[in-house]
């Protein structure tokens, strides 16, 4: 290193070779080039921050009523107007966002955990175990969702945590199938043979060698599950099986607004707009992730 004009062997070795881009770095670059996906990510970040921080900063509680000020159109005190009981729509919207986004994330997490483990085990072992596990999935698939939730409500009472669990308990099925098929493809590759030859245990092979190689489809599907779950929550709240009053969620607000849309349009317009925007954004991000991570589809 003392004489830069005459490079020694040591220097050649020490000097970094052109840094190879990792798969993740490549994916990130591709994702950043996707304008819609970036727009989606920014929107989700803004909505999340607003929903988390907003209700703390507001001067009204989400359940605080003012019967002298019902159905007020958007104005300086109530930026998005008030509802039938004089509650501030903006606060209810942000508070409802917590519930809706919370359900989306929590249920997706449940789905992810169960689905990936179940699918990986089923796909890796194959044979009779696989058949048994997949038929179980088929059976759960065939249960009508609404009836399943109603049964849960009857047995365990109405409670919002249960709602998360119920949705998660249904959403993992598709995830399990996707993971299984991916695992089946990967497990026949040489590097798995190699890992086996070295004598690694099954658990280590599944979680250290197979799963990292199928992360792409898992991430994509997860991103697309969140909006699906939020739709389900709205649907359940719409049916009166979801959150109970005076709690709000986007589904509740939209149902309420739809009943009164002719006269009090703001009750429908704002919740529906925010809900659609969030769903669209989540779908954009999911699409972007698929393009970025799934090398085969993006390079042709």
């Amino acid at each position: 290193m003392s004489n830069p004009t005459s490079p020694t062997l040591a220097a050649v070795v020490a000097e970094p070779v052109e840094k190879g881009n990792s798969l993740w770095h490549d994916a990130w670059l591709r994702l950043r080039k996707n304008k819609l996906a970036v727009f989606g990510m920014v929107t989700i970040a803004v909505v999340t921050v607003a929903c988390v921080a907003g209700p703390w900063m507001a001067s009204y509680g989400y359940e605080q009523q003012d019967l002298m000020n019902t159905f007020a159109p958007p104005n300086a005190q109530h930026w998005l107007g008030t509802d039938q009981l004089g509650r501030d729509l903006l606060v209810r919207l942000l508070f409802g966002g917590r519930v809706s986004l919370g359900v989306g994330l929590a249920a997706t997490f449940v789905a992810l955990t169960i689905g990936v483990t179940y699918g990986a085990v089923s796909g890796f072992f194959g044979g009779k175990l696989d058949a048994l596990m997949m038929r179980t999935v088929d059976i759960i698939y065939s249960l009508p969702f609404a009836i399943f939730v109603i049964l849960l409500m009857v047995f365990f009472g109405r409670n919002i945590v249960l709602l998360f669990v119920a949705i998660g308990a249904v959403e993992w099925l598709t995830m399990a199938r996707i993971v299984r098929s991916q695992v089946m493809a990967v497990k026949k590759m040489e590097f798995i043979e190699a890992a086996r030859a070295i004598g690694f245990g099954r658990r280590r092979i599944i979680f250290r060698h197979i799963l990292p190689n199928i992360l792409g489809p898992i991430i994509v599907y997860t991103a697309l599950t969140i909006p699906g779950v939020m739709m389900l929550e709205s649907f359940l709240s719409f049916l009166g099986l979801g959150v109970q009053p005076p709690m709000s969620s986007w589904g509740v607000l939209i149902k309420d607004g739809a009943e009164k849309m002719e006269e009090y349009h703001w009750l429908l317009v704002y919740p529906a707009a925010l809900f659609s925007l969030t769903l669209l954004s989540l779908n954009f991000v999911g699409d972007g992730l698929r393009d970025a991570l799934d090398v085969r589809s993006s390079k042709d």
């Binding site: 359940e63 002298m68 039938q84 009981l85 109405r158 009053p245 005076p246 009943e259 009164k260 002719e262």
Partner: protein
């Protein structure tokens, strides 16, 4: 091979499809008997899917509307003021002491299957009604009046022959009462508890003294009223068509009535505006002002004898303490609720009885300030709402009930610092919870079955099938028995005043407002008059 199978499959599907079409087309052909050509069909929103179509096993208003089409009592109602007019009985005599009623049934009276309707049918119906095993919620409308009926209902009397029903001949029925009851003819005309049922048909499909045996299903149900059951699509609609065997069939103007089970009042209102309904059951409170402005000719707001209240289960803590019930009752701002939430011209209720029912004005009044409510709650052991257990308020699925419940939930939170959770159930489940008192606090209402103050007070007597609060009060029961035997209207009303006082003091129910009937009615509907009970005898109605 595959292709051949496919073709076969398609052929099969096609055959099935056409067969299906052929089948579904048939029943839509109707005879426009009254108008020559265009069938007269009345489309009406009816709230919930009915619990049943058995007149002796129901309690709700949606069921009542169907009963008025399918069945008829010995007397029936005048379309304008609901006074009793001849129904299945062409006339009746009342003895001078007011205790013996003799009904003369029509000689040509028939059930909708063409079989004769006799005095024995009536007798057997009333026997079924007061059979203890059958446990009809409305049995008291018979056993409070008829000699021996209470004893029979309480199993103290085994021989039905000693109960005050007697068949004189095939078309004459005699009823003997314990005391004269000037309003009894009103009950008989207006209420399905006194409706004869086709006992011979019921016996065909199961034990006669059991509810829900399935005899009311399509194809089995035999009725006696102006209409008969034609179609029953659960949770969608019930179609009734004119009953050719009805004694007054020539004067029935409508060919069919379609009762739609739409619980969601916003959907119902939309159906009305798109012309799918001629009449709605209710009106979303947010729409009332819109109708006042844009469709005043369709908006109906009429007095309606009924009270909207929250029912307490007095066996469950903390509502077993009357101070808690009273505190809850005092901490509601009723004026705000009727003006800002229900918005249909309802009047705040500070007592159970509807003011002015047949000239009776309850003097009892819930009085007290928020401070009194707080003090009562503290005395009951919950100072400042501390330690108040989780109480659930049950309501039947409806946007308007939810809005009122949310408003009251907030009032209780603000005034008493207690948390109430809300939950809703679908109509049948909700009624089941009510009758099994499987609730702590329940939204409910009591709509008069006939026009007399008696109707708001009789159900709180212990053991009454519609009490549903577990509340028992010996003093109240004693006053009630005295009222049944009262010699004059003044004496009777004086007793009612004391009963209302007890109700306000004990608060087994928390009155909220007195109803008005708010709904939309198409101006095309004729022969329809506002009435206090919201009963509109269908045979006088026609569509222009």
């Amino acid at each position: 091979m595959l292709r051949r199978h496919l073709t076969l499959l398609l052929l099969l599907l096609g055959a099935l499809f056409t067969a299906g079409c052929g089948k579904s087309k048939k029943p839509t052909a109707t005879t426009g008997a009254a108008t020559g050509g265009v069938p007269q069909i009345w489309h009406v929103g009816n709230g919930s899917e009915p619990q049943d179509l058995d007149p002796q096993a129901i309690t709700g208003v949606p069921e009542h509307k169907l009963m008025m089409a399918l069945f008829e009592g010995l007397a029936t109602e005048d379309p304008q003021d609901l006074h009793p007019v001849p129904g299945l009985a062409e006339s009746w005599d009342i003895s001078t002491d007011g205790k013996v009623y003799t009904f003369h049934l029509r000689r040509n009276g028939q059930w909708s299957d063409g079989s004769p309707l006799t005095a024995d049918d009536c007798l057997q119906s009333y026997k079924r009604m007061i059979t203890p095993e059958f446990a009809s919620e409305y049995a008291y409308l018979i056993y409070d009046y008829v000699v021996g009926a209470k004893e029979y209902y309480d199993r103290k009397l085994a021989d039905f022959a000693q109960v005050g029903f007697k068949v004189i001949d095939e078309h004459t029925l005699q009823v003997t009462l314990k005391n004269p009851a000037p309003y009894l003819m009103g009950i008989i005309a207006s209420h399905y508890a006194w409706t004869p049922v086709p006992v011979k048909v019921i016996a065909k499909y199961g034990p006669i003294d059991r509810k829900r045996t399935g005899w009311t299903r399509l194809g089995r149900l035999v009725s006696s009223g102006p209409f008969q059951l034609k179609e029953w699509a659960p949770n969608q609609k019930i179609v009734v068509s004119r009953n050719p065997h009805y004694w007054d069939a020539a004067n029935v103007k409508l060919d069919e009535i379609h009762f739609y089970a739409v619980e969601d009042n916003a959907t119902e209102e939309r159906m009305f505006r798109t012309g799918q309904l001629h009449k709605t059951n209710t009106m979303p409170s947010a729409k009332i002002d819109v109708y006042r402005r844009d469709l005043p000719e369709s908006l109906r707001i009429e007095p309606y004898l009924g009270v909207y209240f929250y029912r307490c289960n007095v066996n469950r803590p903390p509502l077993n303490d009357k101070r808690v019930r009273k505190a809850l009752a005092l901490a509601i701002d009723r004026e705000s609720i009727v003006q800002k939430v229900s918005r249909g011209g309802q009047t705040p209720a500070y007592a159970v009885s509807y003011p002015g029912t047949s000239g009776y004005m309850p003097r009892a009044k819930l009085t007290g300030t928020i401070e009194d409510a707080k003090r009562l709650l503290a005395e009951a052991g919950f100072p400042g709402g501390k330690g108040f257990p989780k109480v659930e308020l049950l309501y039947n699925t409806s946007e308007s009930h939810r809005a009122i419940a949310e408003a009251i939930q907030q009032m209780w939170k603000r005034n008493l610092n207690i948390d109430i959770t809300l939950f809703n159930q679908e109509w049948k489940v909700y009624l089941d919870s009510q009758h099994t008192t499987n609730f702590t606090l329940q939204r409910s209402g009591w709509v008069a079955d006939y026009v007399d103050p008696h109707v708001f007070l009789e159900i709180w007597v212990s053991g009454n099938g519609n009490n549903d609060t577990n509340w028992k009060n010996p003093a109240y029961d004693a006053l009630f028995q005295q009222a049944l035997a009262a010699k004059s209207v003044e004496a009777r009303y004086a007793l009612y005043q004391q009963m209302d006082e007890i109700l306000v003091d004990e608060c087994p129910v928390i009155p909220i407002y007195h109803y008005t009937s708010v709904y939309a009615l198409s101006p095309k509907v004729k022969g329809y008059y506002p009435t206090l009970l919201d009963n509109h005898p269908y045979k006088y109605i026609w569509i222009e």
